[in-house]
Subunit: 290 residues, 2 copies
């Protein structure tokens, strides 16, 4: 296996920029080429030293070993087939989006599907753009590799190495459909909760001075994700609509159950529900080895 790869990062924002920083720091990449249609992102990526050079993907085709596509999902599904058409046999392309089914559908019949790997490094912050890129974002976090059997064994071996040695991540494996179900439950719905809470509080508290004065760390923690990019997340909600509507219904039903218990004065039963919710703490603490 080549240990030094020339990597082309398409879309140099929070995720793409952080991958670039990580792969350079670990020495996994010999050079990082930045590809972004936004001229501001291009110049910021260069001035922040996220990438070594900037070019179009067409020009990068002559140089890079691996393309890492970290654009919004609607761009991914249109650009990856075009790039895949042009790849030489030794070249690979991966994507790092938050939903998998649209890419699965877009590529399932592509003759060079084996040169593509579908991945989801599960890390992020509420910020976006090249300035948001941080070294170490992915370290010790989980990366999902989807539909492993649709990629060549060599491609999987190289990309597993990228994530484990290049970015110090742990790997798990799922199919695209399972990925989208589980991320709806565990990641996407959190964003809906948080955005909706922020909308609710802003609506109720027209006097923002009160929010300013009374916001505690608990409130800040719950609305943190509401600072996330509306472009990115409205798209993710769109792409994973079916699973999200399913979990959103369950969430609304849980809230209606709480409301019913409150109206009935059944606070002992409500306490039982809150005790069940406490169990999330045990599961997350296990994760941290506490």
């Amino acid at each position: 296996m080549e240990s030094k790869q020339k990597v082309g990062v398409i879309g140099i924002g929070l995720i793409g920029g952080s991958i670039a920083l990580g792969l350079r720091e670990s020495g996994w990449a010999s050079e990082i080429i930045g590809i972004d249609t936004n001229p501001e992102h291009q110049s910021k990526a260069l001035s922040l030293r996220l990438v070594d050079r900037v070019m179009t993907w067409e020009n990068a085709l002559h140089e890079v070993d691996i393309f890492v596509t970290s654009t919004p999902v609607d761009v991914l599904v249109s650009i990856i087939p075009k790039i895949l058409d042009q790849l030489k046999p030794h070249q690979l392309i991966i994507e790092v989006g938050s939903t998998k089914s649209p890419v699965f559908e877009a590529l399932k019949n592509h003759p060079k599907r084996a040169q593509f790997v579908s991945t989801h490094p599960m890390a992020g912050t509420e910020f976006s753009g090249p300035e948001a890129a941080v070294l170490g974002l992915f370290k010790n976090k989980t990366c999902v590799i989807c539909d492993k059997e649709l990629s060549s064994a060599t491609a999987i071996e190289i990309i597993e190495d990228l994530y484990t040695h290049g970015l110090q991540m742990q790997l798990i494996y799922m199919d695209s459909i399972g990925h989208d179900v589980h991320t709806a439950y565990i990641s996407h719905i959190s964003h809906i909760c948080s955005f909706a809470l922020a909308n609710t509080v802003l609506e109720k508290e027209k006097d923002e001075k009160r929010i300013f004065e009374l916001a505690s760390t608990g409130f800040e923690s719950t609305v943190r994700l509401a600072k996330s990019s509306p472009e990115t997340w409205s798209q993710i909600f769109h792409q994973n609509q079916e699973n999200l509507l399913d979990v959103l219904d369950e969430y609304i039903n849980t809230l209606l159950k709480y409301k019913g218990l409150m109206l009935a004065g059944s606070y002992d039963k409500l306490k039982d529900e809150l005790s069940k919710a406490n169990d999330i703490g045990r599961i997350l603490n296990n994760k941290k080895g506490l």
Copy 2:
């Protein structure tokens, strides 16, 4: 003003214990007497050096200058009138609960109401009990003083000093009704969101291994408050039921609006809603002086 006060803390958990630690560290209190009906809390409070001595409130009456009541709200409303009955003119009692109207009602006709101050130091963590007490919990946070005009000028002066010099907090002033409306919007609803999200995810993800593997920092941030005490929070929801049901309805309506936009495929409109939610970031950053 006396600068060294002997303080009796009734209920030595997260909040009472952290107040004890803060008042000793700043030198504001000359001695801290712990009062708690739970023998385990008594011995932990002593072994963790949260308090100097432990006794009943009846015995503490002969010694302390100020009682700080940090029990659950149902205990507060029964115990404070009894203690107030017995207070000598120079003694004071305060409470630090999360809802104010029940205490306001319980004390409004008490002949010694002027020796009582209603306060809400707005800080906390998702943990509870004496082990959860931390030094510095309140530093630079906001404390609400309620119904200032119902307490004597001397009482207010001493308690303002306790919070500003003893615990390094900033003060704001409200009446009890306003307090309960605003905390429902900004603090209590966050807990409902978080508890309900944990219930939803635990219900949907019967296989807890997936939660374990996929939980990102965003998810953890949103469900953090779901680790909070079911006893404390079911009571707060009860005490502030009317305001909470009001904001809970608004929250459910916001989620139903999101759902409607998703079902209609109106993702541009959904994006506009998410952009509005982003404004919470500006308000919270202003708070931090960013």
